[in-house]
């Protein structure tokens, strides 16, 4: 199968390309670029991408697909469907399933289920410790052989600093980054939201920013000690961003990601300020929505390059669970289908970051951090994973038509400018946004409208 993505604007930071190009793919590989106006290769289908951005397939390196164990929230198939609908060709599945992905058998199961679904690429992340309990190291070598790309006890941090040190030293032998969910449990105990003005107003126990910052600084010190690669998941505080900035300045292998809700919302949302309702459990996540100064620090980290990746922390929960009292409801929101929209609307279209930087955050860097061979790039010979973006289209997110099994999002009804309109995985167009087609007709109409 041959496909020419014609007349698009290619952004591929892995090779410094930022220009109008055609992208030619054959079977599951990228063949190369040609100039607009060059002839269509023999027997190739054409995808008219006039006015659209063509980028290496986006990678969400932090999602919860809930299978095995919590299939009522999400399955690997439904999660993968949500991924491609959100513009992601690749997702990395966190290991906090039941059973925990702490051995090669579970790793293989996740990969097989993803292959069966045949939608997005799914790379599992293995547990750092057995059952993510923080006591004994999980069999990282065997899981690596089976296909994991990183280790993490996400949902909780590795509480014991000595254990974290051992994990980092051991993982380094397999070239696996250790992804840490920075949260000092003693400080964050039983918290339902960020500690600050709004937790005082709402009378709920808060997790201080320090709960994240203490662990981020610990990990910084351990990265220095071990020279291992530690990746801080969903940083939400100015202190954690600062810790990463400092580590990078010192040349340590410390990277981090940020989730869309942490640049979009603050803890005001818990109080229903600016149009929400009080105590809406769809504003409950971990790490929690922070105060304005932390949101500003996240934007600065995105702007100055401290933050390496955008990851949704897609965390599906059943409506019945989210209907509980705020302090009893589980933390987390679905994010795969709003991540790119929020990035384009709130970051690119508001001038915080460039489109090129967005592609870095969503494709180039995640592939580099996780060492995903042939992904995050459109070099000749790379996997034909491609995300096509319309940065101008305005759309309204309607959760009732979302592909995820779960509906827990604070972004229902949000009007966003910018969307992923097509997702290509291994050379196959697996998702085409409603209103768009290969001939580019809808897009031309939309161009007229604007």
């Amino acid at each position: 199968m041959r496909l020419l993505i014609q007349n698009g604007y290619v952004i591929d930071p892995s090779q410094g390309v930022n220009a109008g190009r055609n992208v030619f793919i054959e079977d599951s590989q990228v063949v190369g670029f040609s100039s607009h106006g060059d002839p269509v290769p023999d027997g190739a289908d054409v995808f008219d991408a006039t006015g659209l951005i063509v980028a290496p397939g986006f990678i969400d390196m932090h999602v919860h697909l809930r299978e095995p164990g919590h299939e009522y929230k999400e399955t690997i198939a439904s999660g993968a469907a949500a991924a491609i609908a959100g513009g992601f060709s690749t997702v990395c599945a966190m290991p906090n399933t039941n059973p925990v992905n702490d051995n090669a058998a579970v790793t293989r199961f996740v990969i097989e289920q993803a292959q069966r679904a045949g939608l997005a690429n799914v790379f599992p992340i293995g547990a750092v410790t057995k059952n993510s309990e923080g006591n004994e190291l999980a069999e990282m070598g065997e899981m690596k052989d089976a296909g994991i790309v990183a280790v993490s006890d996400d949902g909780r941090s590795v509480p014991n600093a000595a254990m974290m040190r051992r994990a980092m030293e051991y993982a380094r032998g397999f070239d696996l980054p250790v992804i840490d969910h920075c949260e000092d449990k003693s400080l964050a105990r039983e918290s339902a939201m960020h500690e600050g003005h709004w937790s005082i107003v709402l009378g709920m126990r808060g997790a201080p920013a320090a709960a994240e910052e203490v662990d981020a600084l610990r990990d910084y010190a351990l990265a220095k000690l071990t020279a291992a690669h530690v990746h801080l998941a969903h940083v939400s505080t100015s202190g954690a961003v600062d810790a990463v900035r400092r580590a990078k300045a010192e040349g340590l292998q410390v990277t981090c990601e940020v989730a869309p809700h942490h640049w979009t919302l603050t803890d005001e949302a818990v109080a229903g300020e600016r149009g929400g309702v009080l105590y809406d459990t769809n504003t409950k996540m971990n790490p929690p929505l922070r105060s304005r100064e932390h949101l500003e620090a996240i934007l600065e980290g995105l702007r100055d390059g401290t933050i390496d990746a955008i990851a949704s922390d897609h965390a599906p929960h059943h409506a019945d669970e989210k209907a509980l009292e705020y302090d009893h409801a589980p933390a987390g929101i679905v994010g795969l289908e709003t991540s790119i929209g929020l990035a384009l609307d709130r970051l690119v279209n508001k001038g915080v970051i460039s489109l090129e930087r967005l592609v870095e955050l969503c494709a180039t860097n995640p592939a580099r951090i996780l060492k995903l061979e042939g992904r995050g790039t459109l070099r000749a010979g790379a996997k034909a994973d491609i995300t096509i973006i319309d940065p101008e289209t305005t759309w309204v997110f309607d959760v009732s038509s979302a592909k995820s099994k779960s509906r827990n999002t604070p972004f229902d009804g949000y009007s966003l400018r910018g969307a992923a309109v097509a997702t290509i995985v291994g050379g196959r167009i697996v998702f085409l946004r409603e209103g768009y087609n290969r001939a580019g007709e809808a897009k031309h109409n939309h161009a007229l409208v604007r």
């Binding site: 003005h197 009378g203 709920m204 309702v277 009080l278 009292e325 302090d327 009893h328």
Partner: protein, 350 residues
């Protein structure tokens, strides 16, 4: 919602305007009289159903709501659930929907989770009254405290109020700070550093004065409110011992001598005598602790009357209003209530 209050539920003081608060207090004042009569009952809420849904143990507040409902002739049902329904398998919302299916006019809820009454208010047609939700709010406590202050000081505006104790975990402190500041009082709080977080200073726009020492908060105060200290705070390392708490943060006569000579002392109960308050103060002439309890019934009668007596059921059934319940009338003294009572009797004879 023609109850002169423009309010369907009473969830918190933070959302109320000064006018709404004054209207509630004026109405409560008009009800205070009923409890002093030989026949302590008016038919204002006859045929209405009030459910007291208590997920936390409570004697005082539950009894107070029950008496208030009965003195208004409502049918009051008490449901006490020892723990949150979560552990029993039924969710709060399912419990609420089941109760709702029995068409109550008002559900009074106490729950250990902040925000639980808000969840209820989104699925229930009945008027929801918050009787304490976690560390969030306890609006009727603040109203009864304000009624007590007004009774003894004839005003709230300009008064200096000191609140002493476990501010962090106190819904009483929050509701009182909102109410008192909305009516123009100045609030200072004091307690152990672990229980008086710095963020409390910004709870309200005009600010709350945070003091390290009880003496500094109490100095020149017109009103001193003492909060109950819970023993589990010691095991959670908020302070080292009850003994030390009593010495440094309990209210003693020596503190009270720093306050205004006419200062009054209040406590929401139940008291730990000799810990947060010395018995000589609790039983002394400046203590209004039992007046608070008395006013609690009047305030809850007013709340139930204004919320359960005038809106939802009528809207639901399409029945005509039983009372001409304008703001002016319900804020008239007890005579107003008697006037409405007579009309009710006439109405039922028709």
């Amino acid at each position: 919602m023609n109850n002169g209050l423009n309010l369907k539920h009473l969830l918190g003081i933070r959302e109320l305007s000064a006018e709404q608060i004054v209207h509630l207090l004026d109405t409560a004042e008009s009800f205070r009289d009923i409890s002093k009569r030989e026949i302590k009952k008016v038919p204002a809420l006859r045929g209405r159903t009030v459910i007291n849904l208590f997920f936390e143990p409570s004697t005082r507040t539950r009894t107070s709501f029950e008496i208030a409902a009965k003195r208004l002739s409502a049918d009051a049902i008490n449901i006490s659930v020892a723990t949150s329904s979560v552990s029993k398998g039924e969710t709060l919302l399912d419990t609420a929907r089941n109760l709702e299916a029995m068409a109550p006019d008002c559900i009074v809820i106490r729950h250990s989770s902040a925000g639980a009454p808000y969840h209820l208010s989104r699925v229930c047609n009945a008027a929801i009254v918050n009787a304490g939700d976690g560390a969030h709010e306890h609006p009727t406590q603040a109203l009864l405290d304000a009624l007590t202050i007004r009774e003894h000081k004839n005003r709230i505006e300009g008064l200096k109020v000191a609140i002493i104790g476990d501010i962090l975990h106190s819904r009483v402190a929050r509701s009182n700070i909102y109410l008192l500041s909305k009516l123009g009082a100045h609030v200072a709080v004091a307690g152990p550093g672990t229980l008086v977080p710095a963020d409390f200073a910004g709870l309200i726009e005009q600010g709350v004065r945070l003091e390290r020492r009880v003496e500094d908060a109490v100095a020149d105060a017109d009103v001193v409110m003492i909060l109950r200290i819970q023993r589990e705070r010691q095991t959670d390392a908020f302070f080292p011992s009850m003994r030390e708490y009593a010495v440094h943060y309990g209210l003693h006569l020596s503190h009270l001598n720093l306050a205004s000579p006419e200062a009054i002392v209040m406590h929401p109960g139940p008291m730990n005598r000799g810990i947060e308050i010395s018995s000589e103060i609790a039983d002394g002439g400046r203590s209004l602790i039992l007046d608070q309890v008395t006013n609690g019934v009047a305030v809850r009668m007013a709340v139930l009357y204004l919320l359960a007596g005038t809106l939802d059921t009528r809207e639901r059934t399409g029945a005509k209003p039983e009372f001409a319940d304008s703001a002016a009338e319900s804020s008239r003294a007890a005579g107003g209530v008697r006037g409405r009572t007579r009309r009710t009797k006439r109405g039922t004879r028709d």
